[in-house]
């Protein structure tokens, strides 16, 4: 039992890394995703193709490979690009590289969700807005966006939990600086010292589960607020229907 509490204490700082990775990538990924979703819906052939290609490539390949690829790519540019700019230690630092790749990855998944929601926005609402003489940006801000985000929220919640889980592989692909390790790599490290799989992995799993539930809870509250105009606001289910 003592060992269990020791593990809980040992992993408490580690979970902060997972949370920071997720917290850094969620807002940036969100913004990038909005642009990508609009790009995919755009009638401009170049923007449309680029957005589609980007979303397809990042959803179609494993995050694990993306980490390896972007790290080694950034490393090969170190002498010619980052060094002269004085960014060397910064760009290749896992605390930058980790969230950077996570943003690229989650933006693609989120954009696909937003794109799906965008297409589901009722035609009539947009036509009504146009009939009122709203400009395109007004249409987007007042009509399309509020509809879109409500439609997308359950799936987006799922994606955020997935992103949080994806932070577990950051240090399997990137170098470790100082003692900075996230949850999964800490559990693996502890396991390699005393070979007690039944202690360390379940403790890490508990942390992941706990934070996942907190995410569901917070996003559920936001969802209820988004849906407050309805007489009985739908509740966010723990297991939403949509898959990543």
């Amino acid at each position: 039992m003592q060992a269990f509490f020791d593990d809980l204490a040992l992993m408490a700082p580690a979970v902060m890394f997972n949370i920071s990775f997720a917290a850094a990538s969620i807002p940036l990924g969100f913004v990038l995703a909005v642009f990508l979703a609009l790009g995919k819906a755009s009638s401009n052939p170049i923007i449309n193709r680029l957005s589609r290609g980007y979303i397809y490539a990042f959803r179609g390949s494993p995050l694990f490979i993306q980490f390896f690829m972007f790290y080694s790519l950034a490393l090969s540019l170190n002498v010619t690009v980052w060094k002269p700019m004085g960014w060397s230690g910064f760009v290749l630092h896992p605390l930058f590289m980790g969230p950077f790749v996570l943003v690229l990855n989650t933006a693609a998944y989120t954009a696909e969700i937003f794109y799906g929601a965008l297409r589901a926005v009722p035609r009539g609402a947009i036509e009504a807005a146009r009939a009122y003489g709203m400009s395109r940006s007004q249409q987007f801000r007042r009509v399309i966006w509020p509809n879109l985000i409500r439609l997308a929220w359950p799936a987006y919640t799922n994606e955020v939990v997935f992103l949080f889980h994806a932070t577990a592989i950051v240090y399997f692909a990137l170098p470790v600086i100082g003692g900075q390790r996230e949850l999964m790599s800490t559990a693996q490290n502890l396991f390699e010292t005393d070979y007690n799989a039944f202690l360390h992995f379940p403790v890490a799993a508990l942390y992941f589960l706990a934070v996942s539930l907190v995410i569901f809870f917070i996003f559920g509250l936001i969802y209820q607020r988004l849906m407050r105009h309805l007489p009985s606001p739908p509740r966010l289910r723990y297991i939403p229907k949509w898959l990543r």
Binding site: Y56, A57, R59, G60, S61, P62, L63, F64, I65, Q66, F68, M69, S72, L73, L75, S76, H165, A166, A168, I169, F172, M184, A187, Q188, Y195, A197, F198, F201, P202, A204, A205, F208, L209, S212, L213, Y238, I239, K241, L243, R244
Partner: protein, 270 residues
Amino acid sequence: MFDDIAFWVSYLTNGKHLTWYASFQFTIIAALLGGALAVIFGLTGATLKNSRFWPLRMIGTVYSAIVRGVPDVLFFLFFPLAFEQGVEWFVASQVCTPEMIAAQSAPWPPCKEANWFLGTPEYLILASVSLGLVYGAFATNVIHGAMRSVPAGQLEAARAYGMSESQVLWRVHIRQMWVYALPGLSNVWMLIIKATSLLSLLQIADIVLWADRLGAPNFLPTVGLVHDDWRWRYYLVLFVFYILVTWLSERAFDAITRRVGRGILSEAHG
């Protein structure tokens, strides 16, 4: 010019590269086996969730909730270890004598005779089972939803024909369920493909491990071609490989959906 081409051809077909190409089999086997198991676990989970007996229903719900609440990589690392120790514990209870246990100085397994060697084939199977378990939880939800999408009239008609409950389940319910489950299962399949990139974490010499070994810089002529860090090129190949597999899978699923959905989907959406 020709020399260059000849050089690159021979470099890209040396034994090390051929081993890399051959290691794609591990990825493909793990994906196919994991996918098949995910469907089996998904069917089991969905049946449990539909059960009238609440403890079974609880097991189904808890299974899909827990597995989805933790990262796949955690399960992927934990399950093979747990399974290995479980098997060793069982074997030990059958094989170990008190003398053998006394002779054992290591903390695990209880006696040397109970040790289970894990090589690449064993790890590959265990990896596939963990993929099956993790993504079976996703498949559970997909199949559970699809079972409920089958029009009730179909089942009533089957019962009216005098079919038994198991006949209704297997001949009508599950057979029609596939049509509604296919889009969701296609998503699960894409997830499984991507998760196969984690095989190297279980000491399987898979495509990712070989990409690292091939791309790593080499300075010593006795070791092979002297080159700088070429890793990103090899990872780029894997990046493209996975995108291609995704594309092919999409095509395949589209074709299957169209074929299976003939006469059903048009009615349902009619």
